[in-house]
């Protein structure tokens, strides 16, 4: 059974960090563009060499054309996510007045938040996806999702932001209108908070939350739109992982989150599978050479056995079509290798 690439439009490439998601996403996008689809790949902070391979000269949010060697007709655009500046644009979009925008962008707390808020990458990625999903210009969109500590971050980033500026939190910090839930408790809480956090911080926070007022409905709407897009039948969720104990446990957790959100897993990719191990060695080797080569073959064989064990565990726990990608000792940072990888991705589905 081959991977049904034609009926899907959006490919979400997810999985634990460090399994090669970005490379897989790039390879899949190249393959789709070779097939004649106008393709867009959204990628998160790729390593410099991969960015260069894709033709990124500067690291910005702008769309850049990637030329696919040997396929002059292929239409492939790539965009890299820059969460910091992206946030400013989001504020610009939802702000109700230029004054509100200015106040927020200049707020110390906001700057700290953008620099440090966990989930800002996730938010930027989802924002960008929503923006492009409505463009008819692209037949296929491949999204390299940010590595998340917890898969939930990916889906809930807009929701969390909305929560942060939720009306009730706002009201809680706004001294003017009085408190709307347990009066005495709130005053006590304010005092306690002042003691703990210091009044300077609380003033800043109150100002910040006040500035954000009215923007939360926009964020909530985005959250719903993201979920809807994820559940769309033309969206394909692809889990990239590795056949090892740690990766297996992480992937099972990841899958649980997908299930609880009602998102179907379409495809599993097990990356960096060990290959080549055999026992028919060259006859007549010197003792030392034979010792060396049998030791190396045994080592590879042991690695293979471990991978086999976890591959079987995957089969039982996540029974979806699976592609195995051999561990490539070549550096996956040039377009030719990405082309090859793209072919093996889409041809060897089992």
């Amino acid at each position: 059974m081959s991977w049904d690439l034609d009926s899907k439009r959006i490919f979400l490439i997810g999985g634990p960090g460090g399994v090669g998601k970005t490379t897989i996403a790039a390879a899949l996008a190249i393959n789709l563009s070779q097939r004649g689809y106008r393709t867009l790949v959204l990628t998160v902070d790729p390593a410099r060499r991969l960015a260069q391979a894709l033709g990124f000269s500067d690291f910005s949010n702008t769309l850049q054309k990637v030329s696919v060697p040997g396929h002059p007709q292929a239409y492939l655009m790539a965009s890299m996510l820059d969460s910091e500046h992206y946030f400013d644009k989001v504020i610009e979009r939802f702000a109700r007045s230029p004054e509100q925008k200015k106040k927020i962008l200049e707020n110390n707390l906001y700057r700290t938040m953008v620099e440090s808020l966990g989930g800002s990458h996730e938010y930027a990625a989802m924002e960008r996806l929503l923006e492009f999903a409505s463009h008819a210009e692209f037949d296929k969109i491949v999204v390299d999702t940010p590595p998340t500590q917890n898969a939930l971050d990916l889906f809930n980033a807009p929701q969390r932001l909305a929560n942060f500026m939720d009306n009730s939190v706002l009201r809680w910090f706004q001294q003017k209108g009085g408190f709307h839930f347990f009066q005495r408790g709130s005053q006590l809480a304010m005092k306690a908070l002042q003691k703990v956090l210091g009044s300077a911080f609380l003033d800043q926070l109150a100002l910040f939350l006040n500035d954000l007022e009215g923007m939360q409905s926009g964020f909530k709407a985005r959250h719903l739109a993201v979920l809807e897009l994820f559940k769309n039948p033309t969206t394909s969720f692809v889990l990239v992982t590795q056949a090892s104990e740690a990766r297996f446990l992480e992937s099972v957790e990841f899958h649980k989150v997908l299930q609880s959100e009602g998102i179907r897993l379409d495809q599993l990719i097990l990356n960096r599978m060990e290959t080549t191990a055999h026992e028919r060695h060259t006859p007549g080797l010197s003792r030392e050479s034979l010792e060396w080569i049998t030791a190396f073959a045994r080592y590879l064989h042991e690695l293979q056995l471990i991978q086999k064990k976890w591959m079987d565990a995957f089969k039982t726990a996540l029974p979806v079509p699976t592609v195995l990608i051999p561990r490539n000792s070549k550096s996956l940072t040039n377009l030719e290798t990405l082309l090859e990888l793209g072919n093996s991705l889409t041809c060897s589905a089992s």
Binding site: G18, L161, F164, S199, T282, S289, L303, L332
Partner: protein
């Protein structure tokens, strides 16, 4: 001892891993996901504990099934899994003294949401808890298994950034202490990475980004999953196809490792190479890695 030229820096005596660590109070481990960070933190804990050191191992991934199943306590290692909301509670309780007041004020959805979503608050209270642990156990070694790079950056940048926001109050004092801990000479930051170009260059970029935050004391580059030492000698005679393929594979992995070491030259930190182990279970991997680290 002969001088060894490493990482562009001349180490008259290359710092010994165990020796260096035993002199510290807090050691952070950082690296991209999947590079064996948890295994190396645990292996270091096992190693230092064997030397008679009181060891605390701190992690905060609630999904870290290994950390939960590893028999730390039977080895005499105290394992703590920290999370933002409970650290916050502990911290505030230390000030308010009365749990009832805390529950009344903070145990509601609004405030819980506030803690979860507040920029850097969770990271800061966790760092505060580590400071506390250090303060109460001056003889102990605290090993911290940081979350993957992005979140680890938040961990260091939040207190150093929040410093600007809190100019008074108890939090101000707390943050000052945390920053002091981060910049102290008895604190060390180790980087765990693989001998592959992509994770390695990312780790290097991360290191440079961190260096801009302040003078954090950086320790070792742990290059995990390198080729093992093989007995005998690499064959020089003509080989059959299968063996030829094996040799090619070995050489391409070796090339990768050499490129990695070359890239690491710019890091100016001592490197430690650890072999990729073919242990089927995590527990045996940790034990074997602790023996490897002991030799360094």
């Amino acid at each position: 001892m002969t001088p060894s030229h490493r990482s562009g820096t001349i180490w008259l005596v290359k710092p010994r891993y165990l020796h260096t660590l035993l002199e510290k109070k807090v050691v952070f481990f950082t690296g991209k996901g999947g590079v064996g960070k948890s295994a190396l933190t645990s292996a270091t804990a096992v190693l230092c504990q064997r030397q008679g050191k009181k060891v605390f191992l701190v992690s905060w991934n609630p999904f870290d099934t290994h950390a939960r199943s590893f028999p730390y306590s039977s080895l005499g290692i105290e394992h703590l899994v920290l999370d933002g909301p409970s650290c916050f509670k502990e911290y505030v309780l230390g000030i308010l003294k009365f749990e009832k007041i805390y529950d009344l004020i903070f145990e509601n959805n609004v405030f819980q949401t506030f803690i979860a979503a507040s920029p850097g608050l969770a990271e800061t209270v966790i760092a505060g808890k580590i400071w506390d642990l250090m303060d109460k156990n001056p003889q102990a070694l605290i090993l911290v298994d940081l979350p993957a790079s992005g979140h680890a950056f938040t961990f260091f940048s939040s207190p150093l950034g929040l410093r600007k926001l809190f100019r008074m109050g108890l939090v101000h004092r707390e943050i000052e202490r945390i920053c002091e801990m981060f910049l102290s000479s008895s604190t060390l930051l180790n980087f765990v990475t693989l001998p592959e170009e992509l994770p390695l260059s990312e780790t290097l970029e991360f290191k440079n980004k961190l260096a801009k935050l302040g003078k954090i004391n950086m320790g070792f580059f742990l290059l995990n999953q390198c080729l093992p030492q093989l007995p005998g000698r690499e064959p020089v005679e003509p080989l059959n196809n299968d063996d030829q393929l094996l040799l090619q594979q070995y050489r391409s992995y070796l090339d990768q490792e050499l490129r990695a070491e070359e890239l690491l030259q710019s890091a100016e930190l001592p490197q430690i190479k650890l072999p990729r182990l073919s242990c089927p279970e995590w527990i045996t991997t940790v034990e074997a890695l602790s023996r490897e680290l002991e030799r360094q």
